[in-house]
């Protein structure tokens, strides 16, 4: 177990978030079972009031998740000095088998919480809570994941044992130590560059088409989601190389360090926000025919599309700028 203040803070947040999540989930189940908008009973009134609480809780959860995601990565990076051979967060996360799953589930939870808030926003605009069922089904999917995240974080921090000096002679050097180098396996850069730019172009074109003509929303949403996946792989495959100006260092975490002017925060923030908005736009598609939302959803979808386009544009501009002006040229 490691008693680093940041680890304690992260565990505290994970506990609070999953606690809040379980509380919200409990009422979510009740709402799913008992919701009856035509009834004027005491219970229905009480449930309607609860929805305010749950939306508030979810917006807190989202902001806590976002902040703790970055804190987690930063802490992992900060802790690398405790392990022989670890160069950055990549090494620290590989210290035990729970590091990477914890990170992955944190990202998934952030995306899901974002999408939930979009659905919630649309739902609140309709006077008769038309999306209530879908909203709380989504919530019930999210709650176990929040609890899982908490368990993984506990397992991860509990399993960390720093390589400190022991009283036995040079024990650290007498056995072959496992290498915790930051080299993640990466895909070849040329096909990835092509995939990245085609993904971005298709997303941009379909997004603009939808924004101007109001058609092909699914195409846009799917391409935004796929582009998100391609982009995260591309960061490891080639984007980071241009920043490090080193053809062998495929680390997605060093970008967050001071040496690179914290550019990683901007890259990941734009990428994640773009992805949340893009997924959200597609997810609202089946509900645009619902009476009370007929004139509301298209407006929300257009705004979401715009958010995705702007975010992805910033991401692409930074990438292109770095590819052009980096001292590194990949052949």
């Amino acid at each position: 177990m490691i008693l680093h203040p940041a680890a304690l803070a992260l565990l505290l947040i994970a506990l609070l978030v999953s606690g809040l999540g379980i509380y919200a989930g409990y009422y979510g189940v009740r709402i799913l079972a008992r919701w009856d908008p035509v009834s004027g009973s005491e219970e229905q009134l009480e449930l309607e009031r609860r929805t305010y609480l749950i939306s508030t809780i979810m917006s807190y959860i989202l902001s806590f998740e976002l902040m703790s995601l970055f804190l987690f990565v930063y802490t992992a990076d900060d802790l690398h000095t405790l392990f022989t051979g670890a160069m950055c967060a990549a090494g620290t996360l590989a210290v035990n088998p729970f590091g990477y799953p914890a990170l992955l589930i944190k990202i998934v939870n952030f995306l899901l919480a974002g999408v939930w808030l979009i659905v919630n926003y649309a739902d609140n605009k309709g006077y008769d809570y038309p999306l209530i069922k879908i909203k709380y089904e989504l919530l019930n999917l999210l709650v176990p994941l929040l609890a899982l995240e908490c368990c993984l974080l506990f397992a991860y921090f509990a399993g960390i044992k720093p390589n400190i000096i022991t009283s036995c002679c040079g024990s650290l050097f007498s056995r072959e130590s496992v290498s915790l180098g930051g080299n993640l396996s990466s895909l070849p850069h040329l096909p990835m560059q092509m995939a990245f730019f085609s993904g971005m172009i298709i997303t941009a074109l379909s997004g603009l088409y939808y924004y101007l003509r109001g058609r092909a929303c699914y195409l846009f949403s799917i391409s935004a989601t796929v582009t998100f996946l391609i982009s995260t792989t591309s960061i490891i495959s080639f984007i980071c190389l241009y920043f490090y100006e080193l053809p062998t260092h495929h680390c997605p975490f060093c970008l967050l360090q001071k040496e690179y002017y914290y550019v990683g925060y901007l890259l990941y923030a734009t990428l994640f926000s773009g992805a949340v908005a893009g997924i959200g736009a597609g997810l609202l598609m089946p509900f645009r025919k619902i009476g009370s939302l007929l004139h509301i959803i298209p407006g929300i979808q257009r705004s979401l599309t715009l958010i995705t386009l702007v975010c992805y544009l910033i991401f692409s501009l930074i990438t292109v700028w770095k590819i052009v002006f980096s001292a590194l040229k990949l052949g």
Binding site: L3, H4, P5, L53, P162, C169
Partner: protein, 381 residues
């Protein structure tokens, strides 16, 4: 654009109302603020102090040798024969091996332990010593005075004070006495041809682990220690001490959360009435929730900023009198040092997570309860 402007205006109006309403209940909010401030102050002081100590340790270790080789005998550190030095010097990649002579001397006069070190300087004069300012203070010595030490065979050795190290180097040199190797041998009856340990310099720092592994395999009773290991050990000791204190402080954090919960739940009759009136003149539940959100934000930000500033002052101007004893360790000749201020976004984020987030979580349900009261019920109450 118009929508954005309208939304900002709505927030500003509600914020203005919030400030006025907070000021109307001064006593209640000030007591909450004071508790909040105290919790932030304690945690921030701790965090700043531990980070500054870590930084201090890193600065000191910057000048330490890349690798130190000790010899172990029956699990205890023993003297290193000179042959070890020549054997290590033959390993490829090693640039220099320097045998070091150092030890501890107990001074019965003031009950302090001095660190005695043999100087490498070939121009050092026999029976003349350079001493740390801590010793000079404790024994009231000035340059030119004599410092008598008793050697291990009970003969007095009079050392003339040549220089006193400036107090800027106190953290390293407060209890240090530097003498010539001959005086060192005389003082401790130290066998010749042996050293306390070996300082090894390696040209390429990336080769250090390999060189260490070679030393460990060629000289099985040796114990190579790398600078990075020492650094790591210090870091994790300080982290552990900080974390331990934090765990102890959790009790106060917990009681603060209960206090905040209680304050938020126990709405006064006046507050209920106020919310009732707001709702009856057309405020919606979401507006009241926003009001409560702003209330929490104002209190949290004030407490957080004030707490952090106070903690900064406590740690970096007053040298953290509240924590120093627990976290620094102690000794008769303790170096006096002023911590170098280090505050970064990382520490502030950790603090934010440890204080503001629990507070917000504790108040979310009471705030919602307050916001969903029926106007007629509230006014009748």
């Amino acid at each position: 654009m118009k929508n954005v402007q309208k939304a900002i205006e709505r927030h500003l109006n509600i914020l203005e109302f919030t400030l006025a309403s907070l000021l109307r209940r001064k006593a209640k909010n000030l007591s909450l603020l004071a508790m909040y401030l105290l919790v932030v102050f304690m945690l921030a002081s701790l965090q700043f102090f531990v980070t500054a100590l870590k930084r201090e340790a890193a600065i000191i270790l910057d000048d330490a040798p890349d690798m130190v080789v000790q010899r172990l005998m029956a699990g205890r550190q023993d003297l290193v024969p000179g042959s070890y030095a020549s054997e290590i010097a033959l390993i490829k990649g090693v640039t220099a091996v320097r045998p070091r002579l150092w030890g501890y001397y107990y001074d019965a006069l003031n009950g302090a332990n001095y660190t005695i070190m043999a100087s490498d300087d070939p121009t050092a004069v026999a029976e003349r010593a350079s001493i740390g300012s801590g010793i000079a203070r404790s024994r009231n010595l000035a340059v030119g005075d004599l410092l008598p030490l008793i050697s291990y065979d009970k003969n007095p050795i009079m050392l003339e004070i040549g220089t006193i190290f400036p107090s800027g180097s106190d953290l390293i040199a407060a209890d240090l006495i530097m003498i010539t190797p001959e005086d060192f041998h005389k003082l401790f009856n130290f066998p010749s041809g042996q050293a306390t340990d070996l300082a090894v310099t390696v040209h390429n720092p990336k080769e250090l682990p390999t060189v260490a592994a070679k030393v460990a395999s060629q000289l099985p009773d040796s114990r190579p220690i790398l600078k990075s290991e020492i650094m790591r050990t210090y870091q994790s000791i300080f982290d552990w001490r900080g974390g331990m204190t934090l765990v102890i402080l959790t009790t106060s954090l917990l009681s603060f959360i209960i206090f905040a919960w209680d304050k938020a739940t126990g709405l006064s009759a006046e507050e209920r009435k106020e919310i009732g009136i707001l709702k009856s003149i057309g405020w919606e539940t979401s507006d009241v929730l926003l009001l409560k959100l702003w209330e929490g934000t104002v209190i949290s930000l004030t407490a957080f900023l004030l707490g952090v500033v106070l903690a900064y002052w406590h740690v970096f101007f007053l040298s953290a009198p509240l924590f120093a004893q627990a976290l620094k360790g102690w000794s008769v000749i303790y170096p006096r040092f002023q911590l170098i201020p280090v505050v970064d976004a990382y520490q502030l984020t950790i603090l934010f997570f440890l204080t503001v987030v629990p507070y917000t979580t504790a108040t979310v349900i009471p705030c919602w309860r307050a916001a969903t009261i029926d106007p007629d019920a509230a006014m009748r109450y």
